[in-house]
């Protein structure tokens, strides 16, 4: 329920306004096409180009959101970044007249526009989907930077618990479980299901529980708890890294795109 709610637009009015602008741009383009030959360097085509370039500059200024906190809170700039960035990409597309461009720069511009838009959409999807999954599916909440420390604590706790354990359990712990507790085991499966692989991971311990002495049964119960915690740390590690990592796909290409836009405008003005 909450996951579905997370995907709803936070500001329905802003979403509706963006949709209205989108429709207006499309309608203007359709009217422009109907009225005669479309030229990216003149009239409506030029207007789309200016809109697109201005939109890119605005979207790139997102990194100054903290300095602009006096004007509006960061959440406003985030919304503006997403909607203006999306509309700028549309304006750039309309600026091409929906035709594949000729030059290398223009082609690169179009490809980068597509890439930054797609990675932007991916970012929105990840930022909307992952937090609710982490919160709904896991009991543990942890800072990414503290995961190694907490993992070490889990191993220490497990080692302490295993003191005096029977041979079968001790061997299983030493050879199978401890290495899994020690190592970070990120997996993309957590993106689909935050508890992915849990049953499979716990199965050997559950089976062992059937033929060990009662004191070791209690140890196994505790080990299961510790392993669940470790699996949750792995899920956090994977998903929090994704939440930060997708920016590598988005921000540097967006910087290149902005540079090319500047170059494109300069060459158009100059020649």
């Amino acid at each position: 329920m909450r996951i579905a709610a997370a995907f709803r637009p936070k500001q329905p009015r802003v979403f509706a306004a963006a949709l209205a602008v989108l429709v207006l741009l499309a309608a203007a383009h359709a009217i422009g096409l109907a009225r005669g030959r479309f030229d990216p360097g003149r009239g409506l085509g030029l207007a789309f180009g200016i809109l697109g370039a201005a939109g890119y500059v605005f979207a790139a200024a997102y990194s100054w959101r903290r300095r602009a906190a006096r004007v509006a809170p960061a959440r406003f700039w985030t919304q503006a970044h997403v909607y203006v960035g999306g509309l700028a990409a549309l304006a750039a597309l309309l600026h091409t007249g929906l035709a594949w461009p000729q030059g290398v720069i223009e082609t690169s511009l179009l490809l980068l526009t597509g890439w930054t838009t797609l990675t932007g959409v991916l970012g929105v999807a990840l930022q909307k989907g992952i937090p609710s999954r982490l919160t709904e599916g896991l009991r543990v909440e942890v800072l990414l930077e503290r995961i190694p420390e907490l993992r070490a604590r889990l191993v220490a706790a497990a080692d302490t618990r295993m003191e005096g354990a029977g041979e079968v359990l001790a061997r299983h712990y030493r050879q199978e479980l401890r290495p899994r507790l020690e190592r970070p085991l990120p997996a993309l499966a957590y993106l689909i299901e935050v508890r992915a692989g849990r049953d499979r991971a716990l199965e050997p311990l559950r089976r062992l529980s059937g033929f060990v002495a009662p004191p070791d049964k209690a140890r196994i119960d505790d080990l299961i708890g510790l392993q669940i915690e470790k699996l949750e740390l792995d899920a956090h590690l994977t998903l929090q890294r994704l939440l930060r990592g997708w920016l590598v796909l988005h921000a540097p290409p967006a910087g290149v795109l902005l540079g090319l836009v500047v170059f494109h405008v300069f060459t158009w003005l100059r020649y």
Binding site: R2, A5, A6, K10, R65, R66, A69, R70, P73, A74, R75, W77, T78, Q127, K128, I130, P131, S132, L134, T135, E136, E141, V142, L143, L144, R146, Q240, L243, R244
Partner: protein, 488 residues
């Protein structure tokens, strides 16, 4: 306290004072008139219990024992010598503030000179501030060489429980000097005439309750009206055997309006969440004071209806009380401005922490870790409590809350790193950080840091305004309606 005083000097003064703070000698305690009020049969065992909370302090003439406006958890008994009490004029800026409540009285038309009185051996002071959790209302300083016994709150509670005579004496002082003033400050009594107020003052009973103790039980005869002078009470209703919180009462709040208006049984159970000090007024006395004052009656009706309505909501939908229950259990009810993070939208980007660090010279003053309740994280950030216990016992006055403000702040240049405030904070929201310097004794220099709500920042707390997804919010648990709408 000025930041111009060298820190080392402040630290030495504090350490000198600490050396004096040795637990009081049992034989010396036994000779004091204050302790003589304890029945002889149990006196020795009581002394044994209170000893660690009782200290003798010596002051030279002119030295200040307690200053007006500071927070104290102690009562002082003069052993020998004389003290002078200087009560500032009523328009002095620190006066008449219930912790956290913006209740500064309007300045009088003519300036009133400060009131001065003297105290001698056997006299007590500081009790009203300690019990009611008000800031100290007057500055007390030594007139002659002065020796006082400082008794901290746990010991004072023990003493009042076993020595009815002491309790009577303290109550009498409270009744004569504070109660009328406190009643007037409760909006309800603002228009009650002087004679009626005088009668209420004389007939009021002053009661203390321990944590968990029931003040009034649902369904029993409602024959009293209660006014909270210190502590918190849970107001709950029994629904199918489950005790569901409807609201809570804090200093200045009242309960018992249904008794006066409807002659009904208690519709709720009142239970002390922590040590609570209450003023109890008999139903007949309150009814007489209310008399034919329509505005006062209206106010009572409004309160009664609002509470019955909330009771109905909770009875129909028990989940409605879950956040209140959580706030009472976790102590969030103390919070005037609690930082909460909605984990379903928080992308763990740490922009809040970064913004906090940017605003505080590179040192964040909160940690994005803490208790989790459902999808809400309560980070380690100061709640700006209504009753900030961290303010008690700061040796240099570095930690303070200005009148009519919300922010409890720490003045880093005057903080000597004694960690009293950090130890006292029940929520561990004050942390000690190393400054990089070294003290004279070779230990690393430390200061206490805590959230100050980005005092002076026009846009408000940076953590909230920097959150790109609007996940960080600040709420006051004073307004449960707002809490419910935010946390729904």
């Amino acid at each position: 306290m000025s930041g111009a005083v060298p820190k080392e000097q402040l630290r030495q003064a504090y350490e000198a004072r600490l050396r004096l703070l040795v637990p009081a000698d049992a034989a010396e305690l036994a000779r004091l008139p204050l302790i003589e009020l304890v029945p002889e049969k149990i006196r020795a065992s009581v002394i044994g219990k209170i000893q660690r909370y009782a200290h003798f302090l010596d002051f030279a003439p002119g030295q200040v024992v307690v200053s007006a406006g500071e927070w104290s958890d102690s009562v002082y008994a003069i052993v020998r010598g004389a003290a002078v009490v200087q009560e500032p004029a009523p328009d002095a800026p620190w006066r008449a503030v219930v912790r956290g409540a913006p209740s500064v009285p309007a300045p009088p038309s003519k300036p009133v000179p400060p009131r001065v009185q003297t105290l001698g051996a056997g006299d007590l002071f500081g009790d009203r501030s300690a019990l009611s959790r008000f800031p100290v209302s007057a500055t007390v300083s030594a007139w002659t060489p002065l020796r006082v016994l400082r008794v901290r709150l746990p010991a004072l509670r023990m003493l009042t429980a076993v020595a009815p005579e002491l309790r009577k004496r303290l109550d009498q002082r409270y009744r004569e000097e504070t109660l009328a003033h406190q009643l007037r400050r409760v909006g309800l009594f603002a228009e009650v005439d002087e004679a009626a107020l005088q009668r209420l003052r004389e007939r009021a009973k002053l009661l203390s309750f321990s944590p968990g103790q029931i003040v009034a039980r649902e369904g029993t005869l409602a024959d009293s009206f209660y006014l909270v002078r210190g502590g918190y009470l849970k107001v709950s209703v029994d629904v199918g055997g489950a005790d569901l919180a409807v609201t809570y009462l804090r200093p200045g709040d009242f309960a018992g309006e249904t008794a006066i208006l409807l002659d009904e049984r208690w519709p709720f159970t009142l239970q002390a969440v922590e040590h609570a000090e209450l003023v109890r007024l008999e139903r007949e006395d309150m009814a007489a004071a209310v008399g034919d004052k329509p505005r006062l009656k209206d106010r009572l009706w409004q309160e009664a209806l609002a509470r019955l309505k909330t009771r109905g909501v909770v009875a129909r939908n028990p989940v409605a009380s879950e956040y209140l229950q959580m706030a009472i259990e976790t102590g969030l009810v103390h919070g005037e401005s609690v930082l909460l993070i909605d984990l379903t939208t928080c992308t763990r980007c740490d922009d809040c922490v970064q913004a906090c660090a940017d605003t505080h010279g590179g040192q964040p003053v909160f940690i994005r870790e803490g208790k989790r309740y459902r999808n809400w994280l309560v980070p380690t950030a100061c709640y700006q409590c209504t009753d900030p216990v961290c303010l008690v016992d700061c040796p240099t006055g570095a930690i303070r809350r200005a009148v009519s403000t919300l922010e409890v702040t720490i003045d880093a240049p005057t903080c000597i790193g004694c960690s009293n405030c950090a130890t006292r904070c029940p929520w561990n929201n004050i942390v000690m950080v190393e400054t990089g310097g070294v003290r004279k004794d070779g230990k690393p220099d430390e200061v206490a840091v805590k959230c100050d709500l980005c005092l002076g920042r026009a846009e408000g707390p940076a953590c909230v305004s920097a959150c790109p997804h609007g996940s960080a919010v600040r709420i006051s648990f004073k307004d449960m309606g707002a809490v419910r709408s935010v946390l729904r």
